[in-house]
Amino acid sequence: MKPRRRSLAGALLLLALAAVSRPAAAQAPAAGAGPADRELQLAAESGSVRALLQLATQRARAGDVRGAAAALRRALAIAPNSEEVLAAYAHTSLAMRDYGQAALALGPLLRMHPTVAEYPYLLGVAWMQLGDMTSAVTALQRAGELEPHRALTLAALGLAWNEEKRFDLAKGALDEALLLSPGDPDVLAALAEAEAGLGDATAAEQHADQALARAPKNANALLVIGLLRMRQQRYAEARQSLEGAVAVIPNSSRMQFQLSQACERLGDLPCAEQHRELYRKALREIEERLKALHLRSIGSEEAPP
C-alpha cells in the first residue's frame, strides 16, 4: 500500500479551518517574544501542569509557538490523559503544521470524549494534511454526525471527498457548505473542483470564477481553471492560471505537475523540465514527511521536514 499523494490545493482552506478552531493561546498576535529555558525549567520542576499550561499560553501569545509546544510536551509527560493538555497540544501542533503530533494527541481525546465534535473535526483536518483521506473522511463524518450542518466540517469533508475522487459526495457536502457559508471562496473553489471532476465544466468554471472574484490568489480555483483550460487545449491560458497557483503553493505536486504538462504542450521544454523537477521534489517531501511520521510518537520533538 503506498501513501496517497495529497494535493496541497486545499492547504490554505485547511489552515484557515484549523485557525478558526485554534484556542486563544495560539491566535494571539506576537508581542515581544522571549521564552527562556530557565522559565520552562522552573515550571517543569514545579510539577504543576497549570504552570506549564500558563507558560504555553504566554509563549503562544508572544508568537513563540515552538516554545508553547515545548511547555506542553512537559505537561504531557506529567499528565498524558489530561483533556486540557492534549487539546492544547493538538491545537498548537496544528498551528505548527505538525499534523502527525496533532493526530497523535487527538486520537486519545476522541476516545475519552466521544461526543465532542471539535475533536474528530480537527483529527479529520490533521489526517487530510497527512494525506490519509480515508481516515480523514471517517473522522469528519463522525464530526458531522455530532454537529450536523456545520459549514467548516462540510467544507473539510468536501475537500476530503475531492481528494478521494468521490466527486459526487464532495459536491453534496460542498453545496450544503455553500448554503451555510455563501460566497466563501475556498468552498467555491472546492465545489468547482468537484464539478470539474463530474464533467460539468460550465458549473466548475462559474464557481472557480466566483472564488477568484473574491480571492484572486485562491490556488485551488486557479488550479481548476488551469485544468479546464488544459482540457480545452488552451495551453497558454492554462499555464498562466497554473503559474498563479504554484506562486501561492509552490510545494503542491499536483499544481507543479499540471504546469509542467502545460509547458510541455506549449513546447517550452525548459519550463516543463523545471516544473517536473519541482513536482518530483514535492513528491519527495511528502515521502519524507510520511517517513518521519512513522518514526515519531506523541511528544517527540522533531518537527516534520
Binding site: 500500500m1 503506498k2 496517497r4 499523494r5 494535493s7 483521506m133 480515508t134 481516515s135 473522511v137 471517517t138 478521494e164 475522487k165 468521490r166 466527486f167 459526487d168 471532476g197 463530474l198 464533467g199 485544468l227 482540457r231 505536486s253 499536483r254 507543479q256 505537475f257 499540471q258 509542467s260 504538462q261 510541455e264 504542450r265 516543463a272 517536473r276 513536482y279 513528491l283 512513522h294
Partner: protein, 576 residues
C-alpha cells in the same frame, strides 16, 4: 472481393470460415446449457472440463504470493481452435517443489470441452510462474510460449507436433529475478522478433521481509505483507534477437533497462504516435509508468511524463497493474486503459496524437473503479456494436483486509467491472445490469479474450489467484454482426506482430493492432475481432503490415474469419 484481394486471402480460409461458423456446425456443449436470463456471460468452466486451480499460500504473507498468475490464449496445435495456458505459482513453503503447482495447457477439443495436455506438451513446470506471452519466434508457423517466473523464465519452442522444447538456455532469455510481463515485437524491423520482459521487486526467498513488521507492512492498522514500497525494484530486460535462435540482453544499450528499478508489471506494444514503428508501454506499480518511443534507430526514448502517461492527471504515481490498448473512439489512434490499486482509479489515457490526456473521469470509467484493485483488462466489443467495451477483473492483495477498517476499499474478494462504450467518448458500467455473473466476489488476476467457439462473440478467460479459473462464454443475444481478421505475416514474423488492421463499415472505422503480451501478464488471441453493428459487410479491411506494406480488401462479408497473408517482399516494396 477484387482479384488483388483474393490473392492475399489464405487458401485455407474455408477451414477458418467453418471454424467461425462453429456455432451452427459443431455440437457445442455450451450452446446446449441454459443461459442465465439476461446474462451476458455464462460460466462454462466446469462444462469445459477445466479443473486447473491456481495455487498460493492462503495468508499471502509475502508479496510473491499475491501477484500471479497470467493466462495465454493461442492455437498451440494449429487446429484452428484456441487453446488455453494457465500459469501456476508456487508459495514460499513450496518454492523448492515445483511439481506441486503445475501450469496447465488446455487443448480445445472443439466440442466445448478441453483437456489438459501440459505434461505431455512439456510446459507444465515453469517453476514459480507469473505470466505468459506468445509469438511464433522462429517463424515455423507454430506459436511459441514464453513464461515469466520468479527465477529463470522459460521459452518453450513449439515443435509443431503438439509438444514444446524448452530452449531457454540456448536462446539466452532466462533472465532471472522476478519477471512479470512480457511481449514480443520486431521493434527494429530487422525481420525477427525481439522480447521485452518487465520485472517487479528484487526479492530473496531466503531473506524475505517479515510479515507485518514495520509501518510499511501495515494496512489500516492490520499486519499485511510488505511491499512493493519499501522493497528494492528490479530493472527490466530487453532481449534482442540475434538470429539463429539466440537473443542478447540489450536493455541498457537501447534505453529500456529501467535503471531506477521501478516495479514493472503489464506490458503493451503499440504505435503511440502513428509513425508505423512500435513503441512500448510499461505499467509500473507505485511509480511512474514508462512510454518508450521508438527512435527508428534501434533505440528508445522514455517519454512517459512528456506524453502524459507516467502518472494520473493529479500527478499521482499509481499502483498500475494491467494495460489494454484500443482505438476505442474510432480516432484512428491507440489509447491506453490502465488498471490500478484501490482508492486510486483505473486510468483511460486518450491518445491525442502527440501526447495522451487522462480522460478517466470525463469518460466515466473512473468512479466505479475506486474501491477495487484492478488487474487483467481488455477492450472487447462484447455486443459487436462496433465500439470496444472494457472489462476489468479485480481482487485485493491482502486477505487480512477483511478484518480491517476498509475505508473506500472493497474487501479482499471483489467483483469485476464491465464498461459499455456509448460511442460518444463515455462508458456506462453495466456489469450488474448486463452480466450478473461478473458481480461474484473473487480474487482475479490474468484475463484474456478470444472467440473460442467461433460464434462471433468474444469469450473471456480469467485466472484467479489461489483458486479456480473462469471460462466465460459470451451469450449476448442481441449481438451485432462481426468480422475477424487473422493475419499471416512474413516468414520471420508469422503472427504479423505490429500489423495494424483497419475495418470500415458504413460510418464505423476501427483499428486494431496485433500484439504479443496483453492485459495483466497475459495473452489475448491474436485474431483481430471487429463488431460491425447492423452492417452485413465491411466496406473495406485494410492491413498495414509491420514493414509498412498495405493491403486493402473490399466488401468483406460479415460473420467470417478472414485470413490475410502478407504480400511477398517484392510486392510489399512496390505497395509501400
Amino acid at each position: 472481393m477484387s482479384e488483388l484481394d483474393r490473392r492475399y486471402v489464405h487458401p485455407c480460409r474455408a477451414f477458418y470460415l467453418a471454424a467461425a461458423l462453429v456455432g451452427g456446425l459443431l455440437p457445442v456443449e455450451w450452446a446446449a446449457a441454459e443461459p442465465p436470463p439476461g446474462g451476458l456471460f455464462r460460466d462454462v468452466t466446469t462444462a469445459a472440463r477445466i479443473t486447473f486451480r491456481h495455487q498460493s499460500a492462503p495468508e499471502k504473507k509475502y508479496i510473491v504470493e499475491s501477484m500471479g498468475g497470467g493466462v495465454a490464449l493461442f492455437d498451440y496445435d494449429g487446429d484452428g481452435l484456441i487453446d488455453i495456458y494457465f500459469v501456476n505459482s508456487l508459495t514460499v513453503d513450496t518454492a523448492t517443489q515445483p511439481q506441486t503447482a503445475p501450469s496447465a495447457l488446455y487443448r480445445n477439443l472443439g466440442d466445448g470441452r478441453f483437456v489438459d495436455v501440459a505434461a505431455a506438451a512439456g510446459v507444465a513446470h515453469p517453476g514459480w510462474g507469473m505470466g505468459a506471452c506468445v509469438a511464433d519466434v522462429d517463424g515455423d508457423g507454430s506459436q511459441d510460449l514464453y513464461v515469466t517466473s520468479l527465477g529463470p523464465n522459460h521459452l518453450y519452442r513449439n515443435r509443431g507436433d503438439g509438444t514444446f522444447a524448452d530452449v531457454t538456455e540456448a536462446a539466452g532469455v532466462a533472465g532471472g529475478g522476478w519477471s512479470t510481463g512480457c511481449g514480443f515485437a520486431d521493434y527494429d524491423r530487422d525481420g525477427d522478433l525481439d522480447l521485452f520482459v518487465s520485472r517487479y521487486v528484487k526479492i530473496d526467498l531466503a531473506a524475505l521481509p517479515e510479515f507485518g513488521k514495520g509501518k510499511t507492512c501495515q494496512f489500516r492498522g492490520v499486519a499485511v505483507q510488505c511491499g512493493p514500497r519499501g522493497l528494492p525494484g528490479s530493472p527490466d530486460f530487453f532481449f534482442r534477437n540475434d538470429g539463429g535462435g539466440h537473443f542478447t540482453e540489450v536493455g541498457k544499450q537501447i534505453g529500456v533497462a529501467d535503471p531506477g528499478g521501478y516495479y514493472g508489471l503489464g506490458v503493451a506494444w503499440l504505435d503511440s504516435d502513428g509513425d508505423g514503428w512500435l513503441d512500448l508501454f510499461v505499467a509500473n506499480d507505485a511509480g511512474p509508468n514508462f512510454l518508450y518511443r521508438n527512435k527508428h534507430d534501434g533505440t528508445f526514448e522514455e517519454t512517459g511524463f512528456p506524453a502524459g502517461v507516467a502518472v494520473s492527471e493529479d500527478g499521482a504515481e499509481q499502483g498500475c497493474m494491467g494495460v489494454a490498448v484500443a482505438d476505442y473512439d474510432h480516432s484512428g489512434r491507440q489509447s491506453l486503459f490502465i488498471t490500478n490499486f484501490a482508492e486510486e482509479y483505473n486510468v483511460l489515457y486518450h491518445n491525442e496524437g502527440a501526447y495522451f490526456t487522462d480522460l478517466s473521469f470525463r469518460s466515466k470509467t473512473a468512479p466505479a473503479s475506486l474501491p477495487y484493485v484492478g488487474w487483467g483488462t481488455a477492450f472487447l466489443d462484447y455486443d459487436n456494436d462496433g465500439w470496444p467495451d472494457v472489462m476489468v477483473v479485480n481482487g485485493h492483495v491482502y486477505p487480512q483486509l477483511d478484518q480491517a477498517k476498509l475505508g473506500a476499499s472493497a474487501p479482499y474478494r471483489q467483483r469485476k467491472l464491465l464498461y459499455h462504450n456509448r460511442g460518444d467518448g463515455t462508458f456506462d458500467e453495466v456489469a450488474a445490469a448486463v452480466a450478473p455473473l461478473l458481480m461474484q466476489d473473487r480474487v482475479s488476476r490474468g484475463l484474456a479474450v478470444a472467440d473460442f467457439d467461433g460464434d462471433g462473440r468474444l469469450d473471456v478467460v480469467i485466472n484467479d489467484l489461489d483458486g479456480p479459473p473462469q471460462l466465460l462464454h459470451n451469450d449476448f443475444a442481441a449481438s451485432g454482426h462481426w468480422l475477424e481478421a487473422k493475419l499471416l505475416g512474413g516468414a520471420a514474423d508469422r503472427d504479423a506482430l505490429g500489423a495494424l488492421v483497419t475495418v470500415r463499415a458504413g460510418s464505423l472505422a476501427q483499428t486494431n493492432l496485433v500484439r504479443s503480451g496483453t492485459s495483466y501478464i497475459s495473452q489475448d488471441d491474436m485474431a483481430q475481432h471487429f463488431g460491425l453493428g447492423a452492417a452485413v459487410k465491411a466496406d473495406s479491411l485494410e492491413v498495414r503490415w509491420p514493414d509498412g506494406a498495405r493491403i486493402r480488401l473490399h466488401a468483406v462479408p460479415a460473420g467470417k474469419v478472414v485470413v490475410v497473408m502478407a504480400p511477398p517482399a517484392d510486392a510489399a516494396a512496390r505497395r509501400r
